[in-house]
Amino acid sequence: MIFENIYEIIAFILNSAGILQYMQSYSDALGISIAPKLIIILIETALLLVGVALMVMALTWMERKVLAHAQARLGPMITWYHGLLQPVIDGVKLLSKEDLMPKRADRWIYFIAPMIAFVPALLVFIPIPFGRDGAIISDLPMGILYVMAVSAISPIGILIGGWASDNKYSLLGALRAVAQDISYEIPMVLTVIGIVLITGSLSLQDIVLFQDKIWFVFLQPLGFIIFLVAAVAEMARIPFDLHESESEFVAGFFTEYSGMKFAFFFLAEYAHLFSIAAIMTTLYFGGWHGPMIPMIPPIITSIGWFTLKVLVIIFFTMWLRATVPRVRVDQILDIGWKVMIPLALFNVFITGLLVAGGVL
């Protein structure tokens, strides 16, 4: 069986279990024949949420452990095996924490900012192919454009969160974070143009299928380096972590946030990390391509390869965090506008020439 996307997989499973026909006839009798579709979509959404939440938890654990071992420490040890349950425990604690609202905060905006930051980080995963044979939520024909557009929403959440807190540190942190996000979005999109020129398609599934023989990291080395730097900046990891910049602005834009609202910003940060690593894998490291293991269904193997590549990229960023200091704000913007964008344009130019010449 070949499936198009996860919707069909769920429908097939429900169908072979005999539930779908029952649901269909029942909802037809009630006159709401769209109900089974909605239920499947709900299941899909739940799968996405749970998957991303699990991944984020794994990432926070991994971050603490990698950092600890790089610094000759052990990291969380007492909560189950090597502290594996630590993220769950942090979640329980943050849930039961008091939720403070500053007296002069802009109430509704303060309340809604964490959600605006968190939801786009989830939506980004829709057109990303996690594995072969339909392990994708929806293969949008404009996938890469959609991804870039949606991930550009979360700076709005950051900005209004910083504004609504009524705190100078928050406001300055938010302004810095947004300035950085915007100035690195541009080189990122420009490098993607190089890839789109070669594949001739905006769909992420097509881009992955194109990398059957050779990965784009070898076809677009300059583009990859620019994308890597821009990605680290978009993830707000340490050489470019103006979002938090602890030793300057206490905790950046979420200085005043506590309890579950803070947890949402935290989740959004790590979901963003995961999503950008996933996009990078898709664009430059051949997505789910990898040697297939016999006896195991290819869909599972390919998802495994995809996850492995994503984790390697994330490990790289954590390694960076353990090694290098932070770049100052004016230097970050200088690099973004004066170095990255010209280089990215140069990359587009070269790629265009090569494609027009028929080399690629």
Binding site: A70, S247, V250, A322, T323, P325, R326, V327
Partner: protein, 285 residues
């Protein structure tokens, strides 16, 4: 027409980069700091007033708590004054031991300084490595006097007591290992492009300013003034020991950092000489 105005930003007294309790009120124009007003006194403990009602010996523990990272050096400063007042001559043996512990304490001080510097720049790893070596020195001090930070070890007329068993072996092991560790730090920091971007040309302190403000120590030598009180106006047994005053002409944060790194090597060298001479068979008194 856009209108801009300056605003005030309060930093501290509890802020991650003040390292203690220090408060600034910054006048900012966007991201640029125009003016800094310092508000002091959050750690004013009235030590001078306490000193009035203590005897000389009773006051030594308070000197540990002045600069709590280099307690030995503070001990020595106070003790030296008392000895000069009372006209006490200190045996050579004790002086060498004092120099040894003071130089180790200087290494500890520089480790904490460099670690905190890198921590403020955003690299948390260096301070943990620095504290790892600091812990070894503190173990040595603890075997000498029983405390990790507040030593009360250097007393008028000598030191609190002679070294315990096994001290020399541990000290020699530390002196042997430490240069390699400093090399590790240098590898982590010195050639890092981002470190250069953050530290070169930042915090310029010209030699004239440094002298006029009365700056001393590595700060002064980082501004290109080759003045080391251990060399130019030697106290204790420093004039018998061979070392050089580390100087850098660049006047910026990076120069001061390099001076501290070089001084750690020099301190190791001095400590080694002091240890050697202290147990030299010909040493009298």
């Amino acid at each position: 027409m856009a209108r801009t105005e300056e605003y005030q930003l309060n930093v501290g007294p509890v802020h991650p980069s003040t390292h203690g309790v220090l408060r600034f009120v910054l006048t900012m124009d966007g991201e640029t700091i125009k003016d800094t007003e310092m508000v002091l006194g959050q750690l004013h403990r009235g030590i001078e007033k306490i000193a009035e009602s203590r005897s000389y010996l009773q006051f030594i523990p308070y000197t540990d708590r002045l600069d709590y990272i280099s307690g030995m050096t503070n001990n020595y400063g106070f003790t030296k004054a008392v000895e000069d007042l009372a006209g006490i001559t200190v045996p050579k043996k004790a002086e060498y031991l004092r120099v040894f512990v003071m130089e180790l304490n200087r290494i500890v001080n520089h480790l904490v300084c460099i670690g905190s510097l890198l921590l403020d720049l955003g690299a948390a790893t260096m301070i943990i490595y620095g504290f790892r070596e600091r812990h070894k020195v503190l173990d040595l001090f603890e075997s000498l006097c029983g405390a990790r930070m507040t030593f009360n070890y250097i007393r008028p007329g000598g030191v609190r007591g002679d070294i315990p068993e096994g001290f020399i072996d541990n000290a020699k092991e530390f002196l042997r290992d430490m240069p390699k560790r400093i090399g590790d730090y240098a590898q982590l920091i010195n050639d890092n492009e981002i470190v250069h971007m953050r530290m070169k040309g930042v915090g310029m302190l010209s030699p004239e300013d440094a002298i006029n403000y009365g700056v001393t120590g590595p700060m002064l030598r980082g501004s290109g003034v080759s003045y080391d009180i251990r060399k130019d106006d030697p106290y204790s047994v420093y004039e018998e020991l061979d070392f050089k005053a580390c100087t850098r002409p660049e006047c910026d944060t990076y120069a001061r950092y390099i001076v501290r790194m070089d001084e750690m090597y020099e301190s190791l060298y001095i400590a080694e000489q002091a240890l050697k001479r202290r147990w030299h068979p010909t040493l009298q008194g």
